[in-house]
Symmetry: C2
Subunit: 99 residues, 2 copies
Amino acid sequence: MPGKQGRKEEDAIFVGGKPFMNYVTAVVMQFSSEGADTVTIKSRGKFISRAVDVAEVVRNRFMKDKVDITKIEIGSEEFENEEGKNVRVSTMEITLKKK
Amino acid sequence: MPGKQGRKEEDAIFVGGKPFMNYVTAVVMQFSSEGADTVTIKSRGKFISRAVDVAEVVRNRFMKDKVDITKIEIGSEEFENEEGKNVRVSTMEITLKKK
């Protein structure tokens, strides 16, 4: 299902080290300009705290009473670092849905 | 229900700035020595990433195949800082339950 998968990817926002409001704006735009019904906020490691802040600010301020949190998932990813050591990193996905 | 509430409080672990393994051990002990059926990992602000790490390490390593994540909740707390300004902080609760 290339169409559907494509659409899903578009509606994911990856939270990293850019200015905080970039991510808030990106989520709000996804709902408004892009007409998304759900937006998934994805993050890893130390950026997880930030992703929660993004979700909370969207939900309580910019789209107050307009979106619900419908899913929160946490997980782990394992990968090999430069020294060939196995490293684990936590991941999180928060899904917001238009009311 | 003072008894039940009391029990619930005992089964909450607050993740902060102490060494990481302290929290992992505290959760595992709550299940084993204290015989808890569920343990809630609570955190605020920047410690949220750490709380997710604690949950993941307990679930995937120390109590592999023995616990499930049954609930993840995020929220906000507002308070007045030293300069009398209203500040918002994100909160998170992850509930683990014995299988």
